[in-house]
């Protein structure tokens, strides 16, 4: 064991506060922090240590925490900072600054803006025709000649959508850079968070068989793999609960990979293409478990805060689907002190095989809702095969009101698909940079399912989806209860997840669109692309936790804060992460 002590930071002998310290707003990077504290989750630069210590002392004094504490009477006004929103507690210096500044300038009486629990609006079923006219700002009133100018290619089926599909083709015109291969973002410290909820002997053997099969596939030992697939279904059939279901999906995907049926067929094929089944499954997943609700809720909170004081706002949803995220935000904006802004929504979605204009339907319903709560609302649907097909001009503000638009871009599980084709993510970053949003909210699965090694990918996915499936089981209530009517929803949710499993395991190349990466990997990508984080704080955390208590069935859900982002997980395993970004000031 080492006897020499690694540099334990600055010595305690009366070191003066460092001169010329870095601006408080620049958080410490990974390299220049005290190693020992960093290992425990706190980032403090050695040069700032004495300064941080001084701030702690000031805070303690202000909070009356001196030696006389035990004799001081306990009073109600010793509850400190009840309204403070805390951000990024790992950055001690900034955290202390925010509290010290609150002490010096008491907070204003207005409460911080916050999201209420989602309003109970009827859920938007897909493909439901609406007979209600929407107004007061019908999009179809736009000048047809302007429409033609806006729509460079193709023809939308409705006057409120512009199509950007076939003519632009994949990857956007002229945006691919040679034949560069998309490398998965490097993982600095690969970890494998394992939560075992079913430690039975049979479950262990099943996992072992699955892993062995995956290894055989990796080594192209198809005979062994085939034998193992059969063994797995035997083992799975004697198993119960989440493990059996997970094993079944994984072994089916392995079988598909072994037999290499091209193209993949059946209901568990490519989950990223639009079809009414995908929509239905997505809806059921949204209803049944809290992951997507968490995503919407936390993203909305960040958007709400970014829009504070703005009179005209524009939200661009990179994957509008049924628009379930937006009623809650509209509600919160309607209720904010000072009244709602005028609200414009651009909803992006894939082309529909039957040429129906689902995007328009979504817009209709949202407009109807906005009308009931008196929020000035405009909508545009944008049909695109890929986000990389979107050009900045499609998103620009065309009105000639003096007041500029505040823009928020929102992406829930839409970015990872871009990693399947070289250059697409970069194109999207470029477009976002041009649009200059106040905030870019991003939600992604918290897992690395994009490793170049099939086996690593398989292993990660096995643990991830085991935990996911277990959370679905867990929120069913006790196994002894008879199945309730709502439980068919779980089958749908399982299929929704099963499609992702299938894609990760059985597909390759451009077909493999479920290329999830971790927060750490995304952070690196965003940073390289010129974005800086916008931190999510303790208010969003608290409300997300409250929401979980209200809506989540199971006891095991946990919200966590990590470096300014929020994650939702099952027990100790984070499964989905919300982060927010803005263009770095140059």
């Amino acid at each position: 064991m080492k006897r020499e002590y690694p540099d334990s930071g600055t010595s305690s002998s009366g070191e003066a506060a460092p001169k010329g310290k870095l601006p408080a707003s620049a958080p410490p990077s990974e390299e220049d922090v005290d190693e020992l504290l960093a290992a425990l989750g706190y980032k403090v630069r050695p040069s700032e240590m004495a300064d941080v210590a001084q701030k702690l002392e000031q805070l303690e004094m202000a909070m009356g925490m001196g030696t006389a504490a035990s004799t001081a009477p306990v009073s109600d006004d010793m509850v400190f900072f009840p309204e403070t929103v805390h951000y990024n507690p790992s950055d001690l210096s900034t955290w202390l600054d925010s509290m010290l500044s609150e002490l010096n300038t008491p907070p204003p009486p207005l409460p911080a803006p916050s999201m209420a629990p989602p309003p109970s609006v009827p859920s938007f079923a897909p493909a439901e025709s609406s007979s209600v006219n929407f107004d007061p700002n019908p999009i179809s009133q736009s000048d047809p000649s302007r429409e033609r100018k806006r729509m460079r290619t193709g023809s939308g089926s409705g006057s409120c959508s512009s199509s950007s599909s076939s003519s632009l083709g994949r990857g956007g015109a002229g945006t691919t850079v040679g034949s560069e291969v998309i490398e998965p973002a490097p993982v600095a410290t690969p970890g494998l968070p394992v939560v075992v909820v079913d430690p039975q002997e049979a479950g262990v053997r099943l996992v072992h068989a699955l892993m062995a099969c995956a290894e055989a596939v990796q080594q192209d030992n198809l005979k062994a793999a085939d034998a193992l697939v059969k063994q797995i279904s035997l083992l799975a059939s004697s198993q119960g609960g989440a493990m059996r279901k997970v094993a079944t999906y994984f072994s089916e995907a392995l079988a598909r990979r072994i037999y290499q049926l091209r193209p993949p067929v059946g209901p568990i094929s490519d989950p990223s293409t639009f079809d009414s089944l995908a929509d239905l499954l997505h809806m059921h997943f949204y209803e049944t478990c809290p992951y997507l609700k968490f995503a919407h809720f936390t993203a909305n909170q960040a958007i709400l805060e970014a829009f504070a004081g703005c009179k005209r706002v524009h939200v661009i949803d990179f994957g509008i689907k049924q628009g379930m995220q937006w009623p809650a935000l509209l509600q919160a904006l309607a209720l904010r002190p000072g009244g709602p802004p005028s609200f414009r929504l651009t909803g992006v979605g894939p082309p529909q095989p039957d040429n129906s204009d689902a995007l328009q339907q979504v817009g209709l319903k949202l407009a109807q809702f906005a009308h009931t709560i008196r929020v000035d609302f405009k909508y545009r649907g944008l049909v695109a095969n890929s986000l990389a097909d979107i050009e900045p001009y499609m998103l620009e503000d065309e009105s000639d009101d003096g007041e500029p638009e505040a823009v928020a871009i929102n992406s829930v599980c839409e970015l990872h698909g871009l990693l399947a084709r070289p250059g697409e993510l970069d194109k999207v970053y470029h477009t976002v940079q041009k649009v200059k949003p106040k905030i870019f909210t991003v939600v992604e699965q918290e897992a690395n399912h994009n490793s170049g090694s099939f086996l690593d990918r398989f292993t990660e996915a096995l643990h991830y989806y085991s935990t996911m499936f277990d959370s679905l089981e867990g929120s069913n209530g006790s196994p002894a209860e008879p199945p309730s009517p709502g439980q068919t929803d779980h089958v749908m949710s399982e299929l929704y997840l099963g499609r992702q499993i299938f894609n990760i395991v059985a597909c390759e190349g451009t077909d493999r669109t479920e290329r999830h990466e971790t927060l750490a990997q995304w952070r690196r990508r965003f940073s390289l692309a010129g974005f800086e984080p916008v931190h999510l704080g303790s208010n969003a955390y608290k409300q997300a936790s409250t929401l979980l208590a209200l809506f989540a069935g199971g006891d095991g859900y946990r919200v966590e804060e990590k470096d300014g982002c929020l994650t939702l997980g099952w027990h100790t395993r984070s499964l989905i992460a919300t982060s927010a970004w803005r263009v770095m000031a140059s």
């Binding site: 303690e60 970890g191 909820v197 430690p199 643990h463």
Partner: protein, 349 residues
């Protein structure tokens, strides 16, 4: 009295390295915000501020960890740490996780340490970074499998929940064949903890003794005890080194049954309401005491009581150490105490 506050702050700052001072003062300040005078606790803010780390089945410095739900009814989770086993020649590079994770780390007898994290019964979790780091260190130090218990906390869950969770974990460990080693093959288990964790370790050890379950040893780091009558060190050190009697009182009030006082046996096992330990097959103890912990003389009295009851005690008294010295490897206290723990474990395994 501004003057004496200043003097005391300086004394405290020179007692520990600066980064240690920053770490523990940060906890002190943050925790102060969480405790409300009416006895309620801002759990949401506590969870938000707590720094955590996920389990990692891929070995880091020869240690791997995974989380396990051992009791569905209470969602009792433990984090298990282990040395990574030597690779078996015929397997390839893939770790077969659960199989490998539950293979005995060696053919020789090895210790299993059930660890209860500190936090005065209200703070921290088994995945709190400071405790994850400490448990990993125990693995490397002793070649042990460490089981860190995510026990239910106060004020939401009062006495005896934490003790029950400890007991559940012990009983569970007894049923796991892979945790048994040596000849005869058996569970060579140590109970350990710091602060409230030390208190829990004591009470679980008592229950084990009463049930005839053999514990190889107890390792207590600044175990948390209290009593109605203030002791000399409590009066002398109140507020001087990060801790005040006021906060101690708050935590006892949050953990003990409503209406109980600090002579409740959970808080004061060798006080007026305590149960004698004479004649019980109580385990041997390594009792580590920081001289600058305000309850230091209570902890010394505890060690004394164990001795007088006929049980083996190794007392390690670090006169100049404060609370939390074992969290950062930057003092003699840290390294010498780790050596003592290693000796104790290896000689009693």
């Amino acid at each position: 009295m501004a003057g004496s506050n200043e003097v005391n702050a300086n004394e405290c700052k020179t007692a520990v390295p600066l980064n240690t001072w920053v770490l523990i003062s940060n906890f002190k300040v943050a925790y102060n915000m969480l405790r409300r005078p009416d006895g309620t606790f801002d759990r949401n803010l506590a969870e938000f501020l707590d720094r955590r780390v996920p389990a990692n089945a891929s070995p880091v410095n020869g240690v791997a960890s995974f989380d396990l739900i051992i009791d569905r009814a209470t969602n009792l989770l433990v984090r298990i740490y282990r040395p990574v086993p030597d690779p078996v020649p015929e397997t390839t590079s893939i770790p077969s996780f659960l199989e490998d994770l539950s293979r005995p780390p060696s053919s020789d007898p090895y210790p299993v340490i059930i660890f209860f994290h500190g936090g005065s019964f209200a703070h921290s979790s088994s995945n709190t970074t400071i405790y994850d780091a400490l448990c990993r260190r125990f693995v490397s130090l002793c070649g042990a499998v460490v089981i860190s218990v995510n026990y239910r906390r106060a004020p939401e869950h009062r006495y005896p929940c934490a003790y029950d969770d400890g007991w559940t974990t012990l009983k569970w460990a007894l049923t796991q064949p892979w945790l048994h080693s040596g000849d005869p093959s058996r569970l060579r288990v140590f109970l350990s903890g710091d602060s409230s964790g030390g208190n829990i370790a004591h009470h679980v050890a008592v229950r084990a003794a009463e049930s005839g379950i053999d514990i190889a040893g107890n390792i207590l780091l600044n175990a948390m005890f209290g009593g109605n009558v203030r002791t000399e060190s409590e009066r002398r050190l109140d507020g001087k080194y990060f801790v005040t009697l006021q906060d101690r009182d708050w935590y006892w009030k949050a953990y003990l049954p409503e209406g109980a006082d600090r002579d409740h046996p959970a808080c004061n096992p060798f006080g007026p309401n305590g149960t004698p330990l004479e004649g019980l097959p109580y385990t041997k103890s390594l009792v580590i005491v920081s001289g600058l912990d305000l309850t230091s003389d209570r902890q010394l009295a505890y060690a004394d009581w164990l001795k007088k009851s006929g049980h083996e005690v190794k007392l390690v008294y670090r006169e100049q150490a404060t609370i939390g010295f074992y969290l950062l490897p930057n003092t003699n206290h840290f390294y010498e105490v780790m050596d003592e723990i290693k000796s104790f474990v290896t000689s009693n395994c």
